[in-house]
Every structure is written in C-alpha cells, then in structure tokens.
Amino acid sequence: MTTTPMTTGAPRSRLEPPPMPRRDFLGLAAMWSAISALAFAAAGALRLPRAAVVPVASRKFRVTLPDALAPGDAFVPPGRAVAIFRDATGVFAVSTVCTHLGCIVKKEAAGFACPCHGSKFALDGSVTKGPAPKALAWLSVTKLAAGSYLVDEAKTVAPGTKVTV
C-alpha cells in the first residue's frame, strides 16, 4: 500500500508536517486496540485471586455450662474465642476477638484485656481503653436443654440480648 502525497494547499516544509494521514490513523487505532485488549485481559486475570466459593467450617457449637458458673465469671470453651456468662437475667456470649486487629482478648477481673495493643473492654464488651474501634460482639445463643446451649460464632446479636436460663 502506498500513501498518496498530500496535494492540497501550499507546499509544506519538513518542519510543518501534514495532518495525520490515514495510515497513521490506522496504526494508532491498532495500537490502542491492542492496549485495551491487554488491559481488559489483565483485569480479567486479576479476578482470579478472589475465589467465588470459600469453604468455611461451621462455627456453631454446643456447650454445657458448669453449675458453678457465678455471675461475672466467664466460661470459655476450649479452642473457642467466646466468653459465656450466666447471671440472674440470662445467658449471653461475648466474642473474645478484639475489634482492633483480631487478637484474642483475655478475661480479667473487671473485663477483658488485649495482649497485642492494649485495648481494654468492660464485661459487657464495651471499650474502656485503647485503640479498639468497636465493642466486642455479642454472639447468638440458643437454649437446647437445661444448662445446654448452642452458640454461633458467625452470628452477632445486639448487645444486651440474653437467653433466659
């Protein structure tokens, strides 16, 4: 393919190039098509690291509270990040996952303390000190039988929600 020299107007010097010929236009169009195709493909490939289905083990568990559990004392089932309380008005479960950066808080006399960055929480989970942005979550508790309860770590409930003993 040959380009037709521009014949309109006065003769041009090297320093005044003619307006873009068709060939250049097609070249630019091809280049931008290639770039947009690659960008589109890359954007599609970036979808890969986010799996559509994520297997997550059930976080419900059954717990039997010891008879000796006094109000203000926490029962922490082994291997669970939950503190379960029983008082005169009912049973409730508070998550022990710190709302700051996910460390497991430890039950102390007056509430909970986080070992990682020093947040402190009252017994009802509200923040009393440190960087935690939110109160500890209250978790769903269902009564199964006398003294036996089902706790779901994946389901939060409004603070103050208790199950009657």
């Binding site: 690291p49 986010r50 799996a51 994520v54 297997p55 997550v56 082994p78 291997g79 669970r80 990040a81 700051h100 950066l101 996910g102 460390c103 497991i104 430890k106 303390a113 986080c114 070992p115 990682c116 960055h117 020093g118 402190k120 509200s126 923040v127 009393t128 000190k129 440190g130 960087p131 942005p133 939110k134």
Partner: protein, 511 residues
C-alpha cells in the same frame, strides 16, 4: 597444506583459547583501555560506568551501604533457595519442616540463621542507606527518580521481611498474619464510622485478597509464600536493576560540583583524556535528544571501574557475608511454639523494625497501620521534588543550616515524640477520658497523627526560617528518623504484657 583432520585436531586443542576469546573479546584486562572494554562488554559489569569518579571511593561518600544492602539481598537469595529444598508451605507441616531444617537437615540451622541475619541486616542497611543518601543531598537532579525507586525498594524490602517471618507458622507468624490482615481491613474503621461499609468495603476486599479466605489457613500461607519467594523478589530484582542502571545514567554517585578541586591535583602520571568539556551528548551517534549528565563538565578525576570499584564492592560483599556468618554462629533464628489460634502471646511483638508501627497501631489501626505509613512514604518520595536547590549536593548535611539545623531538628523530633508518648502512657487517650467518643475522632486525633502534624508544621517552619526548601527537608527527615527510632525503642524495650508500659522487661508480671 593442512588436511581437514589436522585442522580439526588443532581446533580441538584450541577450544579453551577460543572459548575464552569468545566470552571475553577484549583479551586480558591489563591496561586501562582493555579494562574499560572488559566492563563495557560484560552484561553484569556494565551496570557500572566504565570509569568511576575518585569521589566515589572516599569512605564518607557512601560508607558502602548500597553495596552492603545488595550483598545482604544476595545472601538471603542464596540461603533462601537452599531453605526451599525442605520448607513446605502448608499449615499442618510448615512448622515441622522448619523444625526439620533446624534439627535434622545438615547445615540447615546454620543456613536458616544466615538467612535470618542477612534479612535483618538488609532492613537495617536499607534504612541507613536512605539516611545517607538524604543527608548527603544525593537525591537532587538528575537523581530524583532514583530516590523514588529507592523508596519502592524500601517498601519491597519490608514486605519481604514481613512475609518471611510468617512462613514458620509459629505463634509469631500466626498472630502477625492476623494483625497484618486486619490492618489491611482497617479502612473499615473509617467506612464503619461513615456507615458505608455495606456497599463500599475496600478494607474487607484487601483482607480477603491477602488471606484468600475468610479465615487464616492454607490459602493465606500459600499466598504469603508466593509473595515471599516469587512476587516480591521479582519486584525487588527489577527495581534493583533500574536503581543501579540509573546511578550510571545519572552520572555516577552525587558529588559536590568542585569535587575535583577538593581531591587535589592529580598525579603527574594521569593523562588528560579530554582537554575541553564536551558540549553535547555523544552516544548513539548523537541522535538522542537532550544532554546526558556529563555534558558541560570539564574532564574529571576518574579511574577505571575495573579493578578499583570492583575490588571495593567485593570487599564490602565479603564483609557483609562475614557479618551474617558471624551473627549466625552466635545467635540462632527464633522459632516459637506452634501456631495457636486460641491464645496469642502476651505481649505479641513483631520483629524490631515493625515495633514502631505497632506502637502507632496501638493508637489507631487505620491511621497507624495504613494512614501514617502511606503519608510518610509519600512525604519521603516527594522530597527531591519539593527541594530543588543545588547547594550542598554530595556533602554530608549539605545545605542551609547544615549540622546545626540537624541538631535542632533532632531536639524537636525527640521532644515531640517523647512528649506524645509521655501523654499517652501517663494519661491515656480520648477513649479513657470519654468512653463514648466517636471512633472517627480517635482515628484522626491520636498521638500518631498529632506527631505527624507537629513534624510537618516544624518542617514548614524550617522552610520559612531558613528561606530554603532543603532546610525543610532536613527538618522533616531528621524528625522522621527520631520518631522512628524512639517509637521502635519504646516498642522493643518499654512495652510488656497487654502492651503496657514497663521500665524494664524484668518488671513484667509473671505469667
């Protein structure tokens, strides 16, 4: 007239000679000229310019820090490949494979120790190297971009360390992944406060991409492994290539304009290569537009990179290797108990270079873990674009104010950070005075953000007081260093169980 067989025999005998000549076309590097050709014609050596300025060789110019950082990286690369023979990136076996490396594999413990010490050294040396380049004002035109590349290298180096100590799947690793992933999620601190998390949740997305799952497990470990052995080393290698190439293209290391005069008269034996300053760039047959950094400069006091620079570099490399090996012999890389998702250590401390960050994070997850680090990296990156003066380039503490200004900035920097720490430790912070305070207030008004603001205001004051942008940069960088060092020391030494303040680890309550 030789026969084909005779020539064949001669060729066989001459194979070593021809092989040598095929590899090194210029013969033995015995003269300045052949040495120059040797460097010029070698893929690896030609990252050097053929000749290096004598100023480069002064101890005080670089302290060998750049090459030391590279050497530490090469040591981690070699030992890291060896460790990959046995390491298994799977939660159930990762910890035990490290135990195997430590107790069963021949030289395994030694190699792992070297890997660990070289990594620690690399972080330290990269930081000191940055301080050296800053204080000698070596980031100035035409080296601005190389400073930017250097900031990229700093970030990748810290990323490599972070992903590295996650792999053993011990208590440190598990809780560091937990904290790291939740820092990635910490933009929620802001989106929650604004009530928009349900439809705009960059924090949740970041955490999910990092962990590959809702929980910390095999997906998370394989991702951190991939980052540690493939993505970040590749990124580092590419950035390193650009970094070194730019040193050459930017006209060698920064030096004062009158470096030649300060070095004194050359030996009588030195033959002047050029007699006049070149007026244009003579490369690629002068078709390249613009001028190279050498244009407009008189003939300079240079020596061939081979052997002078190569010997100096080899010396620094051997010194670094010696240091890593010696440290590996006297101190073992730690390995804590097997990861226990139910009980974090108390206190749960990151390695020393992240303890300053941990201190900031203990005021606000988002500002301490993402906001302030981003502001600091951006602020440091912009330094060569905000200070475009020429005075003092290539000189220690060059520029208006000089060492006196650095001293004053040190007082301000130390004073501010110690005052903020005192207030936070002695009196607590907003949450203790007003328990129902809105979180967004604490996110943006906490000891970390106030400290960053004081430093920024002080550096602006320096610009006004000394009528110099370099003075502002000196103030800002010195304050940054003071803040980093003090916060790190507080994190390392003065923080104990529940991140409480203790004068000494001996005062920690028994647990």
């Amino acid at each position: 007239m030789s026969t084909g067989m005779q020539r064949f025999g001669e060729n066989i005998r001459a194979v070593p000679k021809h092989l040598r000549e095929g590899v090194v076309r210029t013969g033995k590097p015995t003269t300045d000229r052949s040495r120059s050709s040797f460097v010029f014609g070698n893929l690896f050596l030609h990252l050097h310019s053929v000749r290096a300025h004598l100023w480069t060789f002064r101890w005080s110019t670089t302290l060998g820090l750049g090459i030391m950082a590279l050497s530490a990286f090469l040591v981690t690369l070699g030992t890291g490949i060896l460790l990959m023979f046995y390491y298994k990136p799977y939660p159930e076996v990762a910890y035990w494979s490290i135990k195997d490396i430590h107790f069963v594999v021949p030289t395994g413990k030694f190699i792992r120790n070297i890997h660990r010490w070289a990594a620690q050294l690399m972080v330290l040396v990269v930081l000191v190297h940055m301080a050296r380049v800053f204080y000698t004002a070596s980031y100035r035109t035409p080296r601005e971009f190389n400073w930017v590349v250097g900031m990229g290298l700093l970030v990748v180096t810290l990323g490599l360390s972070f992903t590295g100590y996650l792999l053993p799947w011990d208590q440190l690793a598990y809780w560091a992944i937990t904290i790291g992933a939740n820092i990635a999620q910490s933009p929620r601190e802001v989106t929650d406060a604004l009530g928009i998390t349900s439809w705009f949740d960059p924090g949740g997305l970041q955490k999910f991409i990092l962990l590959g799952s809702e929980e910390i497990g095999e997906e998370a470990l394989i991702r951190f492994y991939l980052l540690h052995v493939m993505i970040l080393p590749l990124a580092l290698a590419v950035l390193l290539g650009v970094h070194f190439w730019r040193i050459r293209k930017d006209g060698g290391l920064a030096r004062p304009a009158d470096a030649d005069r300060r070095l004194g008269d050359p030996d009588a034996s030195v033959y002047p290569v050029f007699t006049d300053a070149p007026e244009k760039t003579y490369h690629l047959a002068a078709v390249v537009r613009g001028t190279s950094p050498a244009v407009g400069r008189a003939p300079e006091r240079t020596v061939p990179a081979m052997p002078h620079l190569l010997y100096a570099e080899a010396g620094v490399f051997m010194l670094t290797l010696l240091l890593c090996v010696a440290l590996a012999l006297v101190s073992d890389a730690p390995l804590k108990e097997h990861a226990n998702p139910a009980v974090p250590e108390n206190p749960a401390k990151a390695p020393w270079y992240f303890l300053g960050l941990q201190e900031l994070v203990s005021y606000s997850a988002f500002m301490g873990g993402m906001g302030i680090p981003t502001i600091v990296v951006l602020g440091l990156t912009l330094i060569p674009f905000l200070d475009r003066e020429r005075e003092g380039t290539g000189e220690w503490f060059g520029g208006p104010g000089g060492l006196a200004l650095v001293g004053r900035s040190m007082l301000v920097g130390l004073g501010a950070v110690l005052a903020m720490e005192f207030v936070a430790i002695r009196f607590g912070w907003i949450r203790e005075w007003w328990t129902t305070a809105p979180q967004i207030l604490i996110t943006f008004v906490n000891p970390g953000t106030i400290l960053a603001t004081i430093y920024a205001l002080y550096s602006v004051w320096c610009v006004r007081r000394y009528d110099s942008t370099r003075a502002g940069a000196l103030g800002l960088f010195t304050c940054f260093l003071c803040g980093f060092v003090v916060l790190t020391i507080v994190g390392v030494h003065f923080r104990g169980p529940n991140w409480g303040f203790y004068w000494s680890p001996a005062d920690w309550p028994g647990h």
